[in-house]
Structures are given as C-alpha cells and as structure tokens.
Amino acid sequence: MPSDRRFRETLRSFRVATWLGWQIESNWADPFVFAIYSLVKPLAGALILVFMYAAIAKGGVNSPLFPAVFVGNAMFIYVPAVLAGISWTIIDDREHYGMLKYVYTAPVSVFAYLVGRGVAKAAVATVAVVVTLLLGTLALSVPIRLAGIDWLLILGALVSGCAMLSLFGILLGGVTLVTARHNYGVGEAVAGGLYLLCGVVFPLETLPLWLEVVGRGLPITYWIEAVRRALLGAGSPAFNGLSNGALLGVVVGSTVVLAGLAVGTFRLAERRARARGLLDMQTMY
C-alpha cells in the first residue's frame, strides 16, 4: 500500500476513534454520576493515601516520602484508564456493540483506532490527575510550584508516557482478542499489579528482591520517576544514580522495545482470532 494512503488511513482511524471515544466517555446522562466517577473517585484515592500515611508512616503526610508517593499515585490514574480502556474497547466493540467485525472489514488501522479510543479515556483521566495534584498542592502541602517545574522533562515524560501506555494497552488488547469469556478484567488486573510493582506507593527498595527486579524492568516505573522529578525537583532515592536525561532515555528506549512486543503480540493474536473465528465472538451479552 502506498505510504501516503496508509498515513491517511491511520490518521482517519485515529480521528474517528477519538471522536467515538469522546462521544462514549462524555455521554453523561447524569452529570452527577460523572462527577462522582471522575472526581470523587480519585480524590477518595488520594485521601486513602493520606490516611494510610497518617496511620503508618512516621510524620504522616509530613513524611519526606509523602510528596513522591502522592505524585506517583496521581499519575498512576492514567495507567488503568488507558490499559483497561483499550482492552475494554475490544470487548465492547466485539460483544456489546457488535461492531468489531465491521471495524475489521473496513479499511481501518486497528492500532490507530484503539489508541484513539484510549485518548478519550486519557482525557477524562487528565481531569482526575489535575484535580488530585491541585488537592495535594493546596491542602496537603505537596511542594509543587509552577516556577519549579521542569517543563522540558514533564513534556518529554508525558509524550513518551502516552506512547508507552498506549502500547501496553495494545498488548493487553491482543490478549483480550484471543481470550474468551470472563477475561474482561485483564486490564484492571494488570494495572493493579503494576501499581504494586512500579514504585507508586511502595518504594522499590522495600519490595522483595525479585519483585524489585521486575519493577526496575518496567518502563512505567521510570516514567513515574521522571514525572516526580519534573514536578517536585526530586524523586525517590532508588534512582539517584540516573540523570534526568538517562531516565527519559530509559522510558523512550523501553517504549521502543515495548512497541515491537505489543505490535508483534497483537498481530499474532489477530491471526489466531481469525483462525478461530473470534473477531465476532459473542460471549457476554
């Protein structure tokens, strides 16, 4: 296929999917429910963290570890949103809307389509992230000051983070494509595991050695660390040896590796799904 045609196809698929995703996400039949979902939930998450700290850490929210944990926790809102969002898209489109087969038989770039659907989820998550960070700054004295933010680093981290999370989503989407019934929680389950492994609330060095190794092998760990440094000026002691550039380098490098893995897995899953007739499977509804 000529590359400009493929490019237009990719762009188009992305645009339509973003529009569709936004229509679905913004369909707040009840704005109150939406408010609860997108604001109260993350705020409650932040408060739980506060209470946890008040109960177990010396100094409570004044513990020197708290700001890093708080920022990590806030950024992590993106992870289940995008991961579960993209794998849910597969299930929703296939089994709820019955549209996956029509998406597949159309000249659509499936990757661009899935990422587009993830964008809407990320947009909603952004509201929650910003609100959480504001709460931290205003009420919990998390030391984020506009003048102190490393804008270049945060920009780099956000861009590479978007790519990385989308690729994770595609990887899980591939798994979802070939798993039958009752696996619709795969996105949430994986996100839950990542929450523990990526140094979000538990500093890596407090994990058992083998889990620490896994955590250090995951790009999300470095991405969160980069955001901490950009916003707070300092991150966790575990990564003191890495410069900001090196940190971003790790995120970008591992994202490239992840790209190969995700695309390969997804293509393989597609082939299996086509062989087993799973693209229009109906298991849940």
């Binding site: 339509v16 569709l20 809307y97 087969k101 038989t105 159309a106 007739g277 229009d280």
Partner: protein, 337 residues
C-alpha cells in the same frame, strides 16, 4: 489478478473444533464447509441458498476476511483473503442480517456518519447519501434518534444502509432480510436490485434461506447444504433442468403422516410434506405419470383421501428439494428444518 472475477473460491474447507468442557475435554469437529468452489464475475448478484447450518455465514466470514479457511483458497477482487486480508478490506462491505450492531449512544445519523469516515468519505457527500438511504428504508424520521431507542427491525435497517453507504465494490449480504416483516423485506429486495442496476460494476454476494428471495433477486445461485454446493446456476436454468420431471402437489385428508405410505412406492425419489389442520400437503417430484398412479393407490390403500392434485411449474423450492433430497430414502436425508 483476475479482475473480471469479483470472487473466486477453490476447494474451500472450514472445520470448527469445539471443546466440550463438560465431557472431559472431548473434542468435536464440525465441518462447516466441505470443499466449496464457485466464481462470481464482476457485476453479478450471486446467491448462496441453503438451510440453517449449511455454511452460508461461514462462507461470507471467510470472504470478508474475518475467518481463515482450514484449507483451500478464496480470492476477493483478485486478492487472496488468507494472505492479504488488509488489501481485501479496501474492496468490500458486509451486512449481517438479524443483528442489532451499532453504538447505542449515537444516533442513527452519527452511527452512519462515523462509518463513512472509516472509508474517508467526504462529510457533506456522506450526509446526503445517508439522508437518501434512510428515506429508502423508511427511517428518515429516526435519523436523530439514539439507536438504543430503536426496535430490532429499525437497527437492522440502519445496518443495511451502512452496507450500501460506502458503495463497496463487492458487498456481502448475509441473510439481509432475516426477521424483517414482509413489507420491509420486499422494500430492501427492491433496493438491492435497483442499486445493482445503477451500479453495474458492483458485485453482491447474498445468502438466504428464503428460496423466493434467491429466485427473485439472484442472477445465479449456489444451493448449499452441509458445506457442499449441490447445484449452481441461474434460477431459470435450474428450474428448466427439472422440467423433464413432474412436480406434483397433493393434498391428502384422513392421514397425519403419509411418509410411511410413500416409502412403499418405488421411484418416488424426492418428497416433502407439510401438515395442516385438515390435511397434509405433499410435494413430490416424479419421473413419470405411472409413478403417480402407484402413489395414489398406495395412499388410498393406507386410508387417505385425495383432496386435490395439482401439477405445477417447478420453483426453486422444487430444485432445492431435488438436490438436497429431504427424502427418506436419501442417504443425505433429513437435513433442513
């Protein structure tokens, strides 16, 4: 690339393996397609006619790149569907009847517009075309309705419109009128043949289990049963081939089941029976009149009364009866429900 052929299949086979968990990993194999071969030239409305479970949907899924064949080959627009599915997708469209797909939160118009965007249609052109097509299926007043408020039939009509919206080069219609009321089904059939007349370079493959639909619409039909093509040709030719035999419809009173009686008559090879309140209606295909005499004698001897007898021109239904052979003495018998 054999571009004058829109579709070609060669010894297409598809086997489904299903695992029955209850029965201790016992595997079951279903042969959905058992060596299907046909060719559809560009511009043709080709029908695939067969009873439930014959393999119609499986055929369409393979051609529409949703399913890979177990063996054999299929080409759509000259492209091998197994090796280059992405390229095939630029040439095709698909509508599955009897289903309610679509994004419930979007209106009819939004659903259709979104789909047109997958194909890179210009928005203004897409909107005009959507309006036009919705009018055809009588859905204009629902354009702005979110589709979760629509009835099954209305969603099906929208789905039908979606198939034609992008004017695909090769369109697969899998039982497009399934479950629709008679009037709507007729409207859609009329639309299909009109559309093809206005777009002579387009090709449609339509499956159906309604014989009159195939008869009315299709230039050629393949009659399939249990994954095999039993006959293929223009409906008129298929019917003409039957002409040397007689199609006779008998209405018989006083009996509930004439099958055991007919079984005693030699050389009644094709037979179907419909029970009514006051009689049974029997269609038989006979090699000659002498057989009829024997049959009538046997019915009378068995306690039945002949209410009426009608010789008639063969329909596609008779062709089906002839090739599928519902008959008791057929080794292949008892298939269709």
């Amino acid at each position: 690339m054999s571009s004058e052929l829109a579709i070609r299949t060669e010894d297409l086979r598809r086997v489904f393996r299903t695992r029955k968990r209850e029965a201790k990993k016992q595997k079951r194999e279903v042969v959905a397609l058992d060596g299907i071969a046909f060719e559809v030239p560009r511009g043709e409305l080709f029908g695939v006619l067969g009873p439930n479970g014959a393999g119609k949907t499986t055929t369409i899924k393979i051609l529409a790149t949703l399913l890979t064949p177990t063996s054999g080959h299929a080409w759509v627009a000259g492209i091998d569907v197994a090796t280059d599915p992405k390229a095939v997708r630029h040439h095709i469209g698909m509508v599955s009847g009897g289903e309610t797909s679509g994004y419930g939160l979007l209106t009819v118009e939004e659903n259709l517009w979104m789909f047109s965007q997958f194909y890179g249609m210009e928005t203004r052109a897409a909107r005009a075309r959507i309006r036009e097509l919705l009018a055809v299926v009588g859905l204009s007043d629902r354009a702005k309705t979110k589709i979760y408020h629509l009835s099954t039939g209305m969603r099906q009509k929208m789905n039908f419109v979606r198939g034609f919206l992008t004017e695909p080069e090769i369109l697969f219609l899998d039982e497009p009128t399934l479950g629709l009321d008679v009037q709507t089904a007729r409207t859609l059939r009329g639309f299909v043949s009109n559309w093809l007349r206005e777009h002579p370079d387009r090709t449609i493959l339509l499956t159906t289990h309604a014989m009159h639909e195939a008869d009315e619409l299709c230039e050629r039909v393949a009659i399939i049963d249990r994954g095999r093509i039993l006959a293929c040709g223009a409906p008129s030719n298929l019917k003409r081939d039957l002409k040397h035999e007689d199609v006779v419809r008998l209405r018989i009173g006083g009996l509930e089941d004439v099958r055991p009686i007919v079984a005693t008559v030699p050389s009644v090879s094709r037979f179907s029976q419909t029970a009514h309140d006051d009689c049974v209606e029997v269609d038989v295909i006979l090699a000659n009149d002498a057989v009829l005499t024997g049959l009538l004698a046997a019915v009378e001897a068995g306690g039945g009364t002949l209410l009426s007898l009608e010789k008639r021109a063969p329909t596609l239904e008779d062709v089906f009866l002839d090739v599928v052979g519902h008959g008791f003495e057929e080794p292949n018998g008892g298939g269709a429900s």
